[in-house]
């Protein structure tokens, strides 16, 4: 009996992963929570033979993983940080793939009247004026950076915000969970919101301001910096991402009849 147990343990220990061309891609939580990855990855595997391993993190961490050479490419949405990444020699180039938009989420009763606002800045002003609870990502992700930029554009200083402004330091889904739990406002990308399962008491209150535009870009890690990265695979994936097939899949991806992403790569 003992031998049986031991051999079972060793056979588990020595299980070998299946051999395929692996490519590690760091993506943002907002991209992954949208569910688009589940549509794209099987097609990528079929067309290019690439087994794309997704590391789902915030944009801040994704860029850090790229700088450390722990991934082969990144797909993120924070233009300034992306340009700094390329300028620092960590990425070969930046290629825009698609966009979606940010929306303001809040309690259905909408105590701050965000639903009546004309612009993103006006929505934020009314949240601040009412001292309504607001949950921020607080994790240096692309969404967090965008949110801070919007507060600044609206003319507010984040440092002076009181208790009503709560930075949870978590991914998009966890932040929406927190907003649902507290009855608070939050900013989310549209895809994560539509795919979110725990909408209880929350509603989409404001969207459509051109300022809320959210561009995703693909950045392969520079092989001159990290010789071990799978540059060839990263190149193959980039070619696939800008292909007509990818365009059809991205534009055709819908939840509840709503299109989530718009393909805008230049070939």
């Amino acid at each position: 009996m003992k031998h049986l147990v031991l051999s079972a343990v060793f056979s588990i220990c020595s299980a070998v992963p299946i051999l395929a061309e692996d490519l590690r891609l760091a993506v943002t939580t907002s991209f992954h929570n949208s569910g688009l990855a589940d549509v794209l990855l099987p097609e990528i595997a079929k067309d290019t033979g690439l087994n794309v391993q997704l590391l789902v993190v915030g944009t801040g961490q994704a860029i850090h993983l790229g700088e450390a050479g722990d991934v082969d490419a990144i797909l993120v949405h924070s233009q300034k940080a992306e340009e700094a990444f390329v300028d620092g020699g960590f990425g070969r180039h930046r290629r825009e793939i698609m966009y979606n938009d940010f929306v303001f989420i809040g309690p259905v009763e909408d105590p701050a009247g965000v639903g009546n606002a004309e612009s993103a800045a006006e929505s934020l002003s009314s949240i601040k004026a009412n001292q309504a609870l607001f949950v921020s990502r607080g994790d240096e992700s692309g969404t967090h950076k965008k949110e801070r930029a919007l507060w600044q554009l609206a003319g507010f200083d984040l440092e002076q915000f009181g208790d009503w402004y709560r930075a949870v330091g978590a991914g998009m889904g966890a932040t929406l969970n927190a907003a649902a739990g507290m009855g608070a406002y939050a900013m989310s990308d549209r895809a994560s919101w539509l795919n979110f399962g725990n909408k209880e008491g929350l509603a989409l209150l404001f969207s459509g301001d051109p300022l809320l535009f959210n561009q995703y870009a693909y950045l392969p890690v520079n092989p001159e910096r990290h010789s071990h990265v799978n540059a060839e695979g990263a190149q193959k994936l980039e070619e696939w991402l800008v292909s007509e097939e990818a365009e059809a899949l991205i534009d055709g991806y819908q939840i509840n009849g709503e299109q989530l992403f718009t393909f805008n790569a230049t070939r």
């Binding site: 003992k2 087994n51 391993q53 590391l55 789902v56 998009m172 966890a174 725990n198």
Partner: protein
């Protein structure tokens, strides 16, 4: 309340349909944790016995440090192992980051002090009993450790199972060093964290029930195999 029932339903459905993803991540959870447990036990059990019989200058300090390390925060271990295994870190050339091996390394670091500490506590009492006998038989230190480990095997099993319990439910460290990659490093706990973040509480809870069931089955299986707690076999 409704969500807990939904969770039970989800767990039941996952189990009866033998969902292929569930089987895969459950086996990976077992693979990672059992490997870590075997390695940790091989280090920690003899070390605990050694610590029980050996007298040296800073013994009390060593034991105090070991006991303190029982509560080492997994997320700190994860960060530490990440920095060591990152491509920019000292062991980056091995390419171990984001593989089950990295998760095993992190778990070994987390549970070895726990197993060693519990092993030491129980063997210390056994050593008090055996001390005179083993000294008078003029045994070597190696023989004493062997005798203690063998005769104290029931208590050591408890030590190992405590280590198993800590490792199988751990999420902070393996999330950082494993990355929760689908079909590569996703295990039960990281899958639960992911489903919770998606707001899919029933699936998360279902996976949680599977995890609890797994922990119970492994404990029962080990007790059954080693025939503890049976009449006349103490």
């Amino acid at each position: 309340m409704g969500e807990i029932l939904e969770g039970l339903k989800a767990a039941f459905l996952l189990l009866v349909t033998l969902d292929s993803d569930l089987v895969e991540i459950t086996l990976r959870s077992l693979q990672v944790t059992l490997s870590a447990l075997v390695i940790s036990s091989l280090i920690a059990l003899p070390f605990g016995a050694w610590l029980a019989i050996r007298r040296f200058r800073h013994r009390r300090l060593a034991i105090a440090v070991l006991n303190a390390l029982m509560g080492i925060p997994p997320v700190v271990v994860g960060l530490f192992v990440y920095l060591l295994l990152s491509r920019s870190g000292p062991f980056g050339v091995l390419g171990l980051l984001y593989t089950p091996s990295a998760m095993i390394i992190a778990q070994v670091i987390i549970i070895t002090p726990l197993i060693a500490s519990i092993a030491h506590q129980s063997l210390r009492e056994l050593w008090a009993e055996y001390h005179d006998l083993l000294i008078s038989l003029n045994t070597t230190r190696h023989q004493r450790i062997k005798t203690l480990v063998w005769d104290g095997r029931r208590a050591l099993l408890t030590a190992s199972l405590a280590g198993f319990g800590r490792a199988i439910g751990e999420v902070g460290a393996i999330m950082i060093v494993g990355g929760n990659i689908d079909h590569a490093t996703r295990v039960l706990t990281t899958a639960i964290a992911l489903e919770t973040s998606k707001g899919d509480f029933s699936l998360a809870l279902g996976l949680g029930f599977v995890l609890i069931g797994l922990a119970i089955s492994v404990n029962v299986a080990i007790h059954w195999l080693t025939r503890t707690e049976r009449e006349g076999r103490w």
